[in-house]
Assembly symmetry: C2
């Protein structure tokens, strides 16, 4: 059955969200348009407010409503450590681990020449400016362990090394709580290659 | 890490969507607020357009942009059959099965006195008006096989029977392609009780 044009448009807009298929998008649209429509009005208002106020941190490119994000603005963070990640979600995940006290640089993607994403799009010039300031001692590369993520890490490591700074890559291996039996071969290979003396 | 207020508001609005948890909502919000923000603008426009134009079919309460939905407006449907369903998504699912040529009545819920949902909220008065017109011969009850859905079906069946009309309930049993070994006990009980002579 064909939906009416405006309903189709709404379903299509919802389908464009990450992880949402046609069935979920339809379910969401029907939910949004049900009695009273409080969810639709709330979402519409929240979207417009966020579009108007949320921008990028001037320094690290994290999403924020201020000039500087709370991490860049904080005096409590170790300014000698800078961790480069692909997305704002990675910052959230690392912060939740509670194991890092340095600052971040959010690339908003990875090098992907075929999609027109080069160093310019990843804010490499801004990153170089931070490294040139002299406060950073170590650049931690926390891009994803994919081909593009590795290439991006390699490229950024070069920037640090050329300036006489330390560049490090986060460890890859068997996740805590994971069972070795079910871990894929690539991960096991990395876990073995990265073994450490006890 | 705490998100900024407008970002938090957007994540909360997305979390209110069916089937969306905190992690998915955050991922969606970041996606919406990424470079250029075309997805956010498209969703905002689609929401506002749908809120302005999509309403309920005057007759069957299906979502539509016209006075009558395409099914109620069609001359090709068997007007003697009326199928009561809980939601617009059920209409879509039954239409996709291609096995029904009658019309629908969308309850937009099920009887749930504790939540303040009584016959009034389900449009029972409108349903009675359709039954009283005299064109309908059979009321097919396609509410969900839950306690509330069964109670609703029972209540509606009564309306039809009191008018001397036929009331029927869709069959419940082992789904096609399903393996009996993995089907739950309640479904198997219904499948056995509803067995038919070959």
């Amino acid at each position: 059955m064909k939906h009416s044009p405006r309903l189709t448009q709404l379903i299509d807009a919802l389908r464009a969200l990450p992880g949402i298929g046609p069935k979920s998008a339809q379910r969401m649209a029907f939910h949004l348009l049900q009695d009273g429509r409080p969810a639709a009005h709330a979402l519409s208002r929240a979207l417009d407010a966020a579009l108007a106020s949320v921008k990028r941190c001037r320094r690290c490119r994290m999403l924020t409503e201020e000039e500087l994000c709370s991490i860049c603005a904080s005096q409590q963070r170790e300014s000698a450590l800078l961790c480069a990640v692909e997305s704002p979600a990675d910052v959230v995940a690392i912060e939740q681990s509670g194991s890092y006290r340095g600052r971040y640089f959010v690339l908003m993607g990875h090098l992907s020449p075929l999609d027109g994403v080069g160093p310019e799009q990843l804010g490499v010039r801004e990153l170089e400016a931070i490294l040139d300031e002299g406060g950073v001692r170590e650049l931690i590369l926390a891009t994803n362990p994919t081909v593009e993520g590795e290439a991006t890490a390699h490229f950024l490591a070069d920037l640090a090394v050329r300036r006489g700074l330390m560049a490090s890559r986060i460890a890859h291996g068997v996740p805590i709580g994971g069972e070795i039996e079910y871990v894929d071969g690539g991960t096991l290979a990395r876990a073995l290659a990265g073994r450490q003396t006890v």
